[in-house]
Structures are given as structure tokens and as C-alpha cells.
């Protein structure tokens, strides 16, 4: 396969050593826009160096942000600046670098706290990503809470990372895993949810937004019903955090909220578990090691306070710094403005794709994020993906780590286009033209 050369390389500014300074460097998006003005598409796109490259001879049209989004220059610069001017281990040294590194790491935590409106930084645990956050809750919280006869309630549209950890913990405790069905349009069957929620339910774990269909779940209603039975709720926010106008854990009143930085314009290998402090405080640590202890003798260990109790070992410090910069970036753009931009793209793409003969949308929930799953009669999604790739258009094809949902639709796979802040109407047109090409080839 021939490799295209990046048309634009990353420009790094000279790095000045600035003690403890984690501001992310100037970009043109620093200038605050009026809150109700639309997003400046050209400016945003210019912030993402990778979008300047060619793929198979064409300008890259990246429609796979639900799998992983690209990173803007301020995030790349924040990571580079941290690595080249401040790096040391955190929470350990008396020397200046260690203090700066600790400060940078903890500032990122405070940014995340503010971003999701948690009450305290003690409720913000840095993890590797959504998957690790859910596993932490499964092993530290659920394992101790569950026993034979108990039930964990999830939905049919979950990502495998919000299914498998519960299967593992149910197998270990004798509890039962139940999945609320979905309707043909991809919305949750609310009546089924309310009837499946019972005295046996010990935990509800739900996607805030479906990665395969884009469905936005009415989580506030679902949480209220669970809380009426004193059942705690975990939300998998992987697809929500960068795309909804607001994610406020206090307003949602959720008990746990999990998300990954790499789906919100930050680096891979870092993510967040938000946990209600009273729950986190009562939970045992799930990994032992350095940083999570207060004192250790061979006989016993006193655990550190929150959130350090859940952060054994040297953390992903530069990842946290990058996440903090991604939070800043999103806040500077304005989350409502971003969400409005993506909703416009969703509407445009939905109506444009409807004009493609023999194309079927999978999932048509009334409330959706900018994720579109589709099939074309007589063409396997894999072939759609290859044809689009030859045109420089990146979409995902397959089961999207949601095999139970695919089985419900009787589909081995779909093609999925997911939109982000840097996509525009021109990307939708390129997609539609690419799909015409698919029709020509396989029609």
C-alpha cells in the first residue's frame, strides 16, 4: 500500500522552561468567540495537524472519531512542553521538577473536576481509559456488593467494555447480568427498563451515548428510577463527554462516570473514573503498590486518601497533562457550540445519506449524537470501508465492539461515520460521493 506524505508537519514552538506552567500555548482559538456564534470551522481544522495530510492522494476526511479523535496542537504542545521542561515522578521528590510535575498532574485533575462539575478532586481518579474505569468499579465496588440472587442491569447497546467486566464479576459472585432490550429504532425500551429494575438489582451500568448507533440515553430518568430503589448507577460516558453540550455529574446525579481522553481530543492511555466520594471512600483499593499507600509495614498497610488510593504506581503524567489541555481546548471552543455544530452535521449527513440508493440507516433514535451506522444492500460494510479509504475517507466497519446489539439487528457488521468538531459539510459531501463510487463498483 502506498503511503501518502503528510502535507503539513507539526510545527512546534520553541519550548521555554516555565516552572509549573501547564498552559497549553497560544493558538488562534484562544480568542474567545461570542457564545452563540457558530464554530469557526477553518480555524478549528487548522488546529489539527493530522487533517492536513493526504491519504491515498486525497485530503483526509476523518469520520472515525467515535473510535478515537485526533489531537489539536494545544494538546500536542502541552504534552511536549511537559515532557521537555517538567518531567519527573509525581508525589515523591522534594526537588523542583518533581514539584512541577506534581503540580501539572494535579492541575489536570482540577480541570477535569471543573469540566464535569464534580464536588471535589477526591472524586476524580485517573485511569487508563473507560475500560479500566469500569473494571475498577466492577472489581472494587461490585465484587464486594454482589452475591447469588443479585442482579446487575445493563443494556443491549453497550460496548463490550461495559458488558464483559460485569460478566466476570457476576461469574465470581453468583450474581446475574441482565440486559435491557432496545427498540428497532435504537432507543432503549424504557418500559422494559422499569420492569427489569427490581429488588434484586444492585447496580445499573449504562452507556450515556451508544458508540454504535449514536443513541443518547435518557439517563436522568433512568438514574432517578434506579435511585428510587437505592441502586447506584454507572454511566459509560466514552461517547458523551466530548459531544454533549454539558456533562455535569451533579446534575446527572450519577454515582460513577467513566470516560477516555483519546475520544475527547486528548492522548491515549489516560482516562477518568468519577466516583461519588462516599462510595469511593468505602471501596477497597483494587491494585496495590506505590502512591496508593500512606504507610507500609510487612504486617499491614494504611491506604492513602482519595483519589491516590486508586492510583497505584507511577501514573500517566503527560497523559493527564494532555487531558487537561484537551479540557481547556473544548472549553475554549465552547461545548454548546461544539454540540450544535455536530448536530447540524448529523442532520445534514442524515438527509444526504437518505439520497443514496439502497442505503439503510441503523439506529434512528430521536435523540442522537453525530454517529451514523448504515448498510448498503448487496455490499458488505468491509468493502464500503475499503472503497472509502481509497478516497481518503476513514470510516469504521465491523461490529463496533457491540456484538449483542449487532445480533439484535441481525447484522454481522455496519459501516459507521462519526463526526467531530473538525468535520464540516464538505466532509459529508465527500462521504456521499464516496458512497456513489461504492454503488458504481458494486451496483
Amino acid at each position: 500500500m502506498s503511503r501518502a506524505v503528510p502535507a503539513q508537519s507539526i510545527q512546534t514552538r520553541p519550548i521555554e522552561a516555565q516552572a509549573g506552567e501547564t498552559r497549553t500555548g497560544e493558538t488562534r482559538t484562544d480568542e474567545a468567540q461570542a457564545p452563540d456564534s457558530p464554530l469557526d470551522e477553518a480555524q478549528v481544522r487548522a488546529d489539527f495537524p493530522i487533517l492536513g495530510r493526504l491519504v491515498n492522494g486525497r485530503r483526509l476526511v476523518y469520520l472515525d472519531s467515535a473510535a478515537s479523535s485526533q489531537r489539536p496542537r494545544p494538546v500536542l504542545q502541552a504534552v511536549e512542553r511537559y515532557e521537555s521542561t517538567m518531567h519527573s515522578n509525581v508525589h515523591r521528590g522534594v526537588h523542583s521538577l518533581s514539584q512541577w510535575a506534581t503540580e501539572a498532574y494535579e492541575q489536570a485533575r482540577e480541570r477535569v473536576r471543573r469540566f464535569i462539575n464534580a464536588r471535589s478532586v477526591r472524586e476524580i481518579v485517573f485511569v487508563r481509559g473507560t475500560t479500566e474505569a469500569i473494571n475498577l468499579v466492577a472489581h472494587s465496588y461490585a465484587r464486594a456488593e454482589l452475591g447469588p440472587g443479585d442482579e446487575v442491569l445493563i443494556t443491549l447497546l453497550e460496548h463490550h467494555s461495559n458488558i464483559v467486566p460485569w460478566q466476570i464479576v457476576c461469574a465470581a459472585t453468583g450474581a446475574r447480568l441482565r440486559a435491557v432490550p432496545v427498540l428497532a429504532n435504537g432507543e432503549l425500551d424504557l418500559a422494559a427498563y422499569h420492569s427489569m429494575l427490581s429488588d434484586r438489582t444492585r447496580l445499573v451500568a449504562l452507556a450515556h451515548v451508544s458508540n454504535a448507533l449514536g443513541t443518547v440515553l435518557p439517563v436522568q430518568e433512568l438514574i432517578r428510577a434506579a435511585h428510587a430503589r437505592a441502586v447506584p448507577v454507572l454511566l459509560d460516558g466514552a461517547q458523551a463527554i466530548a459531544h454533549l453540550p454539558v456533562v455535569d455529574v451533579q446534575a446527572l446525579d450519577c454515582d460513577f462516570y467513566a470516560f477516555s481522553a483519546h475520544k475527547m481530543y486528548g492522548p491515549t492511555g489516560i482516562g477518568v473514573l468519577y466516583g461519588r466520594e462516599s462510595l469511593l471512600a468505602a471501596m477497597p483499593p483494587w491494585q496495590g503498590g506505590g502512591d496508593m499507600i500512606r504507610s507500609v509495614s510487612i504486617e499491614e498497610t494504611t491506604y492513602n486518601e482519595l483519589p491516590a488510593k486508586f492510583e497505584a504506581g507511577t501514573p500517566n503524567i503527560s497523559g493527564a497533562v494532555g487531558l487537561g489541555a484537551a479540557v481547556d481546548y473544548l472549553e475554549r471552543l465552547g461545548r454548546e457550540r461544539v454540540a450544535a455544530h455536530e448536530q447540524r452535521l448529523l442532520e445534514l449527513a442524515t438527509s444526504r445519506l437518505a439520497s443514496v440508493p439502497h442505503l439503510h440507516l441503523v439506529g434512528t433514535a430521536a435523540h442522537r449524537a453525530a454517529v451514523i451506522s448504515f448498510t448498503i444492500d448487496g455490499v458488505h460494510p468491509h468493502d464500503i470501508g475499503t472503497v472509502l479509504d481509497s478516497e481518503g475517507i476513514a470510516v469504521r466497519t465491523g461490529h463496533h465492539c457491540a456484538m449483542p446489539l449487532m445480533q439484535f439487528y441481525g447484522l454481522p457488521a455496519t459501516a459507521r461515520a462519526s463526526f467531530a468538531v473538525y468535520n464540516g459539510a464538505d466532509d459529508v459531501e465527500r462521504l456521499v460521493a464516496g458512497l456513489q463510487r461504492v454503488r458504481e463498483l458494486f451496483g
Partner: protein, 147 residues
């Protein structure tokens, strides 16, 4: 990369109207092939006569490459001995993974799949049918139970 190299006319034709599609009943052996990554599924049945593959059928769902590959394979292996099939598979595999600069003439229509070598993620699609055939042939090897 040139799409026309992957989706040659022969490939598109065998995808549109796969040969030897269906199921043999009764069969001497059968096997299931599954590529979990793309959800491709293949069910293959075959009959042997005098240690030669006298007939085979396949059914299932898959991308154009996996369907066309199974269809082309089904034509190419019919009537052949196990040893001949093993040799053919080695050559096809070498072609799919780009280890042959020019597919030898005796590969016949199978050479239409040579373009797959330029699309590494698709090699698995094209080889699924061969793995399934090997599994079925191995099963046909098993000593016949007298019960």
C-alpha cells in the same frame, strides 16, 4: 493504491454470482470458518472420492473478497488430490501476502486475487475459505467411527 486492482472484474463477478454456493447433503466432511473481526462466516461441505475432492459447496456471508475467494477456490480445487490442494494453497497464500511477483499461469483465475497483497487488512478475508477447506479436509481424515 488502485481499487480496480483489488476489485477486478473476475472478483466482482464471483461476488455477484458465487459458484458452488450452497450445501452438500450428505457430505463427507464440513467445517465452519469465522472471521470475528469482520463477522464473515463460511460453511463448507465436501465429498471425497478415491482421495480426491469430488465436490464441494460453501455458503455464508462475507465481504466481496471473501465470497469471491471462496467461489474461485471452489472451482480450482474440484477434482484435485489433497497434495495438489496443499500445494495450490501454498501458492495462493504466497500470492496473497505479496511473496510472488507474478502469479504462475497455472493459478488460472485465482490470480485475480493478486491485488489483495496491496491491501494487507484484506488478506484474512481472502484466506478464510482456504482455512475452512483445510479444516474440513482434516476432519475427513479422521478414522471413520464404526459406531
Amino acid at each position: 493504491m488502485d481499487l480496480k486492482d483489488l476489485y477486478r472484474e473476475v472478483v466482482l463477478d464471483h461476488n455477484r454470482s458465487p459458484r458452488n454456493f450452497g450445501r452438500l447433503e450428505p457430505a463427507d466432511a464440513e467445517a465452519q470458518g469465522h472471521n470475528p473481526l469482520c463477522g464473515d462466516r463460511l460453511h463448507l461441505t465436501l465429498r471425497l472420492q478415491d482421495e480426491r475432492l469430488s465436490d464441494l459447496r460453501f455458503e455464508g456471508q462475507g465481504c466481496a473478497i471473501s465470497v469471491a475467494s471462496a467461489s474461485l477456490m471452489s472451482e480450482a480445487v474440484k477434482g484435485r488430490s489433497r497434495a495438489e490442494i496443499a500445494q495450490l494453497y501454498d501458492e495462493v497464500h504466497a500470492m496473497l501476502t505479496g511473496r510472488l511477483s507474478h502469479p504462475p499461469a497455472h493459478l488460472g483465475k485465482l490470480a485475480a486475487l493478486a491485488g489483495v497483497a496491496e491491501f494487507p487488512v484484506r488478506v484474512k478475508c481472502a484466506s478464510l475459505c482456504w482455512h475452512t477447506l483445510n479444516a474440513a479436509l482434516e476432519r475427513a481424515n479422521a478414522p471413520v467411527s464404526t459406531e
